[in-house]
Each structure stands twice: as C-alpha cells, then as structure tokens.
Symmetry: C2
Subunit: 410 residues, 2 copies
C-alpha cells in the first residue's frame, strides 16, 4: 500500500476508546445527543484532535471541528461523520468516520504540512435521531436548515426539548444560526457500509454514487374475527391471511423493480391474536427504498395497487398511512471519480455503491459537492454490538481519504 501512512492499530484504539463511552451493561453503545456520554465523547474527540495539532472548536449546535489551517484559508475541505449512536449500537457507525478523518488530517499534516485550503474534520450531533428524532440536526445546522422553533418544539421521551438539552451542555439555542457555514469547498464522509456487498465481493472500498430515497408507511388491514373451526376458509375476511399476501407482494414488487430497490416489512401486529380466532386486524409497516425518488414513487404505487387488489380479493379493508418520505441525494460525480482515483493510487479496490441508509452527506449534497467512501462491515452487520470493521480496512479508507483531501486542498 502506497501513499499516506496510517496506523491501523491507532485507529482501532481510538474507535475502542470512543466505544467505551456510553457502553451498555447489556451490550452495545448508546450515545445520544447532549447526554452525559455525548459530552464525554465530545471532550475525547476534542482531545484527539488537539493531540494531532488541529485547532479545535465547537459550533453553536455542538458539532466539533478540528482544523488544519490553510495558507489561503478562505475555503475549507471538510471530512467527518456523526458522534451519536442508535440504542445499543456498535462502535463504528459514525465514530469511524471521525476517527479516520482525524487520522487522515494527521497524516496530511505530518507528510505534507500546511495545505492551501483549510482541511477540517467534524463530529456531527444527532444524525441517528435516537434521542430527539431530529435526524441530521448537526449537518442541517451546518447548511442553515435548523431553526430555533424546531429546537423548542422537538422533545425527547422525557419531555426535554432540544433547546433545554442544549442549554444544559452550555449551548445557546438562540444562536443556532451561527452554525451555518458558507466556506465549504467539498465534503467527504467515510462510513461503514452497513451491508454485505464489500465483504461478499472482497472489495476494499465502496464509492457511493447516491444515497437512497426512503418511504415509510403504516398499513392497517381490517377483516372480521371468526371462529377458526366453524367458518369455512372461503367465508372469511382474514386480516392476517391478507396481510401475509401483501407482505409477499411488496417483496415481489421490489424484486421486479430490481436492485437496489428494497421493500421491507419489519413490523406486524395481529388482533385479537388467538390461535383459534381468524384475525380481525393486522397492522404492518413498509420501508421502501430506491435512490431515484421517481422510481421509488412508482414502486410504492405498484405495491399499493397490488395491496388494493389483494384487499378486494380477500374482502378486507386496507388503510395506508404514510409516515415519511425522505428524498435521497446524488453524490458529486467529480468527487466520486476523485475517490476512485485515490483508491487506485493507494492500490485499493473500489466498487461503486448506492447507500441504502441515510447519512449526513445527503444533507450537505445539495449545498456542497459531497462524496462518500464506504469501508467493509463484517457480515454486513450494523446498529448492533456485532458491528465491526477490520483495522486494516479502516486504515485503507483513511489513506484513500487523505489522498483525496490532499488532491482537493493542497
């Protein structure tokens, strides 16, 4: 491996140190925005940045920045990821992008000295939305997409508003506008893949071309409770039988749409739920994804048509409640080419991937040229204690990141 020197052991050690903050007795790590674990992690990240000679600051929303100041300094090339986790999450989701960014800036600083443009690494707050459901709060504040009204209106399960939680950690919610930046030249995020493709194909890195669009909705099927023994199959309005056909149909429509389309039913509840009672009601969720919002819209529409046909055949009522639609984003093609080129320089194999999960990068992409780099996830696992990336894979990612940042900022 040529290029910048990055120590896999140091990356693994920094990831483990962050993972001990918020570690849960029942496994995994829970670090939610502005909670004591987040404060501790913020301070550790500040120390990691300062120890590598970066100048550190925390912005109005709590994003932590470490800067390698440029000789010009009017523009900034940014890298980084988020500091929060899902409940009982893993050590790598978000954290690795921060740790690898710090390692890349350290390598640049040591090998090439001062850049022309500023190079910065960021640790964003609240990407997962675990505490407040305020997904992407840190990156939205960066692009001017978070306002004080939201901070007062949005509360955690204990009724604490974002604004109150900010004040408790020394931030002034009235100043959130100051988190907005207009000096960014590019943003590059390194993240774990959270899927099995890189490992399965033996590829070192994924270069993300797009982040998927997402539609989440709730379906409720209402039939009629009947005695399981005395009501002939043909005389039933069986809510679960209908729901099962709908679940199968959603899967089939997504397969017919072709990769990377997905349709997932992860939740299903049945009422009254007795073994000898035909189900009166079945409620289930749909999570459908495709990078192209238009294709996603057609997929969801096709699924609805199939469901309506099944409801008619089965003699049940169907009510569909959209929960949310999130448009994804295209990554900057120029940065994609730059990342593939940087991979080549480093002797790393790269695969172009679409991200099926949401990332801060999709918030920045409409405002700043943005690129994403995936490193392999063992067994494709994420959002769980088993989440793992080989230190050597993480180091390859950091080297390619450093190479690309060098191209952009020197």
């Amino acid at each position: 491996m040529t290029g910048f020197a990055v120590d896999p052991t140091a990356i693994a050690s920094d990831v483990a140190a962050l993972g001990r903050i918020g570690a849960q007795p029942d496994g995994g790590v829970t670090r939610t925005t502005y909670d004591p674990a987040w404060v501790q992690a913020r301070d550790l990240v500040r120390k990691m940045m300062a120890d590598r000679g970066l100048s550190v600051r925390v912005d109005a929303v709590g994003n932590v920045y470490g800067r390698l100041a440029g000789t010009d300094g009017s523009r900034t090339v940014l890298t980084g990821s988020h500091l929060d986790t899902v409940p009982n999450g893993g050590n790598y989701d978000g954290a690795l992008g921060i740790v690898a960014g710090i390692a890349a800036l350290d390598a640049l600083n040591r090998d090439r000295g001062r850049p022309r443009d500023n190079v910065e690494v960021v640790a964003f707050v609240e990407e997962e939305g675990t505490r407040f459901g305020a997904d992407f709060l840190g990156s939205r504040a960066l692009v001017g997409g978070a306002d004080p009204a939201e901070l007062h209106a949005t509360r955690d399960v204990d009724g604490v508003s974002v604004a109150e939680a900010m004040r408790a950690v020394g931030l002034d919610p009235g100043h959130i506008g100051e988190a907005k930046r207009t000096d960014l030249k590019a943003f590059l995020e390194l993240h774990i893949e959270q899927g099995p493709v890189l490992e399965g194909t033996g590829t070192d890195l994924g270069v993300v071309d797009a982040i998927t669009s997402l539609a989440v909705e709730d379906a409720r099927v209402t039939g009629r409770a009947d005695h399981a023994g005395t009501t002939p199959i043909t005389h039933r309005a069986d809510a679960l039988r209908a729901a099962a056909r709908m679940i199968v149909a959603a899967d089939e429509r997504a397969r017919a749409c072709g990769p990377p389309a997905t349709a997932t039913v992860g939740m299903c509840r049945v009422h009254p739920g007795g073994a000898n009672i035909v189900a009166e009601r079945a409620e289930f969720s749909l999570d459908a994804r495709h990078p192209d919002p238009a294709v996603l819209g057609r997929l969801v529409e096709e699924i609805h048509q199939q469901w309506q046909a099944i409801a008619a055949t089965e003699g049940v009522d169907l009510a569909i409640t959209p929960r949310r639609v999130t448009d994804g984003a295209l990554m900057d093609p120029g940065l994609g080419a730059l990342l593939r080129e940087a991979a080549g320089v480093c002797g790393a194999s790269a695969w172009t991937l679409t991200s099926g999960a949401g990332h801060d990068s999709q918030v920045l992409a409409p405002h700043v040229p943005t690129g994403m780099l995936f490193v392999p996830s063992r067994a494709g696992r994420s959002h769980c204690p088993e989440e793992f990336t080989e230190p050597e894979h993480a180091a390859i990612g950091a080297r390619v990141l450093a190479t690309a940042l060098h191209q952009l900022a020197y």
Copy 2:
C-alpha cells in the same frame, strides 16, 4: 310448524336471563367454571328446571341435571350443553342448548306426560377451558375421564387448582369418580352453528355428522436482523417474509385439501419489530382442522413440507412445536337419521354439517350414541357479544329436539 309447542319468547327470555349473569362492562359475558357468575348461573338453571317440574341434582363435578323420571327408569336419554363461556363471549354458545333442552323436556312433560326412559337435561361445567384449560371437564367426568390427580395439577392464571375451586363451591374433588354415569341410552346436544352455512343457505337446522379433529401448533422462524436500507433483498434471512409465505402456503394447502379442511394462522409476533429492521424472528400459530384424523394428519404434513421448503429457500430456521391434537368424533348415524326425520315431522329444513368446533358431544360419542343439532348463528358469529340466534330458530330447534327425545324415550 307441527309437533310440540315451544314458546320462542320464553326461550329468548331464559337465554337473556343467563346472559345477564357474568355480563361484562366492556361487552359480552364471561362465566368461567366455579366462579361467582357460574354459581349464580348454576342456581338459575336449577330454578328453571325445578319450575318446569324436573327433579334437580348437581353431580360431583358440578354438572346440573334436571330429570323427567321414566316409568322404567333404568336408562336415561340425555340432552343439554355447557354453562361456561369464553371471555367476553355471547349469550348463546352452550346456554342455548341448556335452555332449549329444558323447554323440550317441559313440552314433553306437558304434552306426553311421563316417559318410559328417564329424560334429562344437563348443564356441563368447563367445556371452553377458559378458566382452567380443562376442556370438556364436565362431560369427561360423566364418562369417567377426569381423575383427582388432574384436579390438583390443573390451575387457573391465579394459581388456584381445579380441586381448590371445587371445594370453594362445596364440591369434593375426591368424589369426582361419582360423576360417571353408565345409564345413558343416548345424548343429543343442541348448539349454535357458530358458522355461516345455515344462515347462508336459509336452512332451519344442521344435523352434525362429525366433529372435526384439530391440530394446534406453534411455529418459530429465525432469520437475521439486518438494516432495511443497506442489505439487498437477495442477501437477507427475513423471518417475516418467510413467515408470510408460510401463512399463505398453509391457506393454499387447506384449500387444496378441500372443504371442510381449514388452516388458520390467528397469531403472529415479530422481533425486533422495527420498521427499518429486517425481522430476526417471527412466531405464529397454526390451527388446522378436518373431521378425519388421517386427512388432518396428511394436511399438517403437507403444510410442514411446504414450510420446510420455504425455510430452505429463504435461508431461515424453522422450529415447529405441536401444542395439541384432538381427535374429533363421528356422530351416531342412527341418531342423525332420527334428527333429520324429526325435522321433517316439524316441517323444518335440515342440512348435514360437520362441526368445525369442539363440543361435549365428542367426549360422549365414544361411550354413548350421540347426535348434535345446530341452529343458525346470525352472520356466523360466535365467541363474541354479537352472537345471536333468532328466537324462532331456537324454538324450531327445541321442537325438533323434543320430537327426537320423544322417539327415543317414550
């Protein structure tokens, strides 16, 4: 309508009086074995029997008998049904067979006087198994199929054993053997259909040829929890997608088997149950029925084969746990012919049906020639507050019952 005089209004009034005992604030009636509502209902039934001139006794298990004593008196023709209900059940299931039996004996007594054989009507305890899960306890005690060990071992949700509950209502569990009878010449049970066939075909009565056999089991599908966005559809071990295909397959196998086969999945639970998490585990029930135990066995076997094939295709594990298998029973063909003939005498239309639900009759059938008569259920509903049978239909049933009892006992 010719034959015995039965007053529809009196039947409706007696059913309503029983239905007020155990009536729930949230609808329906809950009367479980040996509870205060059961004691009150037992006493009302005793009074109803005594008011019609029947001699009343309560046996060792709590079954209530009302007798029209015969001139010979060595043998007894019995009718009746059960006094307990499911939780929030209806007024008719069980109760109507007792009320109609009392009305039939009253009509016989008034019109024809003393019979040759004894004619009795019974109100059985614990047919539904609601309190103790001791299904058919009353009829089993009658045929000598309940023993003291069971009474001590079987407990309700509060930990009270059948034996303790018996003592609390003045019964001695050590004497349960005394409930056994050897003098029965025939048993005829009138019951609501609990299904839609009689109403749908505009038929007055159903003559039951067989009571279905039943297999209940629990299935557990174990796949792998994955991120709904980042794991391609083709890389998943989706427990709910697999379970949905299994639910559909069970229905299709039962349809292929043909009526009256049924396969019902009334319960399904999913873990972890998040909209954006591929299901790791799905648990569901199977309730399969067919009157012929051999056909039922083949149906269940075919369903299992389909499920195993689906599990293999979907890459999930499948564990099947049998909960119980209950062999049904054939009704006595001679009594079936007698009931159809009695219907003809009364000018009532009759349809031969297989019972998809279990009844005390299936316990008696191996020991005593047994016949069953169904009256129509409005909209086929049962085990719910909407359970209803037109008073005129109930009265037709009671007249046909009286006619058949007359044939047997005079």
